[in-house]
Symmetry: C2
Subunit: 400 residues, 2 copies
């Protein structure tokens, strides 16, 4: 029997407890032995909840119990999660977490500590919720040179964009409804400004190249400027608008961005609707693979934590190696990234546009007194330089 | 340094050699040590090819060399692949293969032998080519009760159906063109009659439930009866037609089928076009996850073999456990499976149809002297019983 402790009995922590309980037989069958929750750590009491029987309020009980070999850190936040994780690893207890903030900030250090103490620090649930992506990157794609990663990594924004598209509504209206339904937080900034997606692509890019990406190096734009008129243009172009979190390796340089993109149906991410997430990886040998599923939610996220618990249980006394050095991966200025741009300007003189942008694909008749066009491929710097010649750019959306 | 041998220098085998060579640095970086191809076994000579330096014609050289710890079996077919695999495993050499025929037929036995000799038998490349699906099933979804697996597992048929849809062409026309382009074999039966997809869903279902599915227990229909008129109906329904390989666990019973299905855009498999494959897994805790990529092709398949090689290299002297007992998983007669059916009949009397089928959704005006309809949910047996009352059923396609 393998014994585990859950730190934090909130949404994800109680989900982990539930998955381990409900799927006890499946898990024992696959693993060949039982996984038992010996402790749940939380400051609160849960009278009437069966968890009360294993509830403790003192982390030292868990740290001092040699029977506990795996710890699930589902508290979130940096402190005390960091200290608890470090202490557990130093005692040779593997830690499985859903805490993307901690992973993004201290991943390399915690992996090193785990290595030193022959245990593991696993964090499948920290990116993409219930979608297996961290483990496939580490195992199924270890033989590949990763050329690009493009993710729809935030369910709230994908839900909002999907609703704007299908119901023709304005951003504010959809956000308000999403908040009512609990699909968006009361303070939705981390989602709608792209920060959440940014931390996640930072983790995935770090794992792809084995070095540390500083999320502050990633150009990050949210979806707050996207309007129903943008979607009307998208429809005319046969496209849709998605918040992409993207990193690319090109000519030995690395680029990373979080921003809305115009996406055509040929891209498998086009069909990812609502709260679902997906990650498209392009690799030099196997080509494109995509991983799709629920990017959030109690049981999906908890299930990913439990997958890590099983992996640790299969490797007791062994370190599951994750290449992620503390050395910084240099992200090149986004200026050098090459792509097409969709631009809306409050004028309709095609000649004037072509004089500045050269060959463009025009879209007219969508809204009065303006037009939209798609440029040829150029660098971000070249786009900005040309756009500066107009004082009437209404919006710009990158084209994938 | 880890030393490996490749058995068979055909399409996949030469791909494995290429991936190991081209991505040598990436692989060494991730693994922490180099993987060297010490031997390539083939009956032929390859004058002028650098492989000639490591080419051997006698399997015993490989078996007798204790330095070779991992063998890639990329010969295909049952013999001598079976004997070579068995001998290698008995000497404690792990075997990684793309050979779906061998895996389907002898998987449980070869896994047992590997377990006994503390090595591994891995076969990621045998299903879904370059798509990670076997390893995610074994690791990322080990904590899940699998409720259903639905796969587009054959690139040739998906290419044909996609072309029929987008170009409005007849089956025979598209098949002939696919054969010209090399997307379909000269003898295409294994693909177009669904046998290839059947073997693959048989392997996936076996792994999901840990017992052996006999592929002959799986109801298998190909795509040869699908016409351009069927696609015209699909369009009217806002659907498309896909060859699904599907297994379902419901009320303690297991159902499995390979057949064309009407698929709506809400299903993430709807967007899988051309030669791409994808597998949608529904699990009781994490819900739906989908895995998408190239289902065939030299480098994609080879890349999956090399992923297995790295996994073995990380676990030298240890058996990577795959639950797959030789005990037979009982597949229930398809009669009991419940779904909707799309039916075309050469009559247009709606009353007559409703008298037999009850409430239906009618589609008229697609072709002269006939109509199509979608039934309510019923068992396959109930459908057949009702359809027998008409002597003018033109076609039936299951609805997902």
């Amino acid at each position: 029997m393998v014994k585990t402790a859950i730190l934090g009995y909130g949404t994800v922590g109680s989900g982990v407890y539930e998955v381990l309980k409900k799927n006890k037989d499946v898990i024992s069958g696959k693993l060949g032995e039982e996984i038992q929750v010996k402790y749940v750590l939380d400051l609160r009491e849960f009278e009437g909840d069966p968890v009360q029987d294993v509830l403790v309020h003192d982390m030292n009980l868990i740290l001092d119990d040699p029977e506990v070999q795996i710890v699930c850190e589902t508290m979130g936040g940096e402190h005390p999660a960091y200290d608890f994780t470090k202490s557990a690893l130093e005692r040779g207890k593997s830690v499985c977490t859903s805490n993307k903030e901690l992973v993004e900030k201290h991943g390399p250090e915690l992996i090193k500590i785990a290595e030193k103490h022959q245990c593991s620090y696993l964090f499948e649930a920290s990116v993409g919720g219930g979608i297996p992506i961290i483990r496939p990157l580490r195992t199924s794609l270890a033989q590949e040179e990763i050329l690009s990663i493009t993710g729809i990594l935030n369910g709230t924004t994908n839900y909002i964009l999907t609703k704007m598209e299908t119901e023709g509504l304005a951003f504010d209206t959809v956000l308000a409804r999403a908040q009512e339904k609990g699909y968006a937080e009361k303070n939705p900034d981390a989602d709608i400004l792209g920060y959440d997606a940014c931390r996640k692509i930072s983790i995935l890019t770090s794992l792809a190249y084995g070095k540390k990406v500083d999320f502050q190096d990633i150009t990050t734009e949210g979806i707050t400027a996207i309007t129903d008129i943008d979607f009307a243009y998208a429809k005319k172009m046969g496209a849709t608008i998605k918040l992409f979190a993207k990193s690319v390796k090109k000519n030995g340089k690395y680029y990373a961005i979080v921003a809305p993109f115009m996406v055509k149906p040929e891209n498998p991410l086009y069909a990812v609707k609502g709260v679902f997430n997906a990650i498209l990886v392009n690799a030099n040998m196997g080509g494109e693979t995509m991983y799709y599923g629920k990017g959030a939610g109690k049981l999906a996220t908890a299930s990913a934590v439990v997958a890590d618990v099983l992996d640790c249980a299969r490797h007791i006394g062994k370190h599951l190696d994750i290449k992620w050095e503390d050395e910084r991966l240099e992200i090149s200025p986004i200026d050098g990234a090459v792509r097409k741009f969709f631009v809306r300007v409050s004028l309709t003189d095609e000649e004037q546009i072509k004089k500045v942008f050269g060959e463009v694909e025009m879209f007219t008749g969508v809204a009065k007194g303006e037009c939209g066009f798609v440029t040829e491929e150029m660098t971000e710097a070249a786009y900005r330089e040309r756009a500066a010649k107009f004082d009437n750019v209404l919006s710009m959306i990158r084209v994938d």
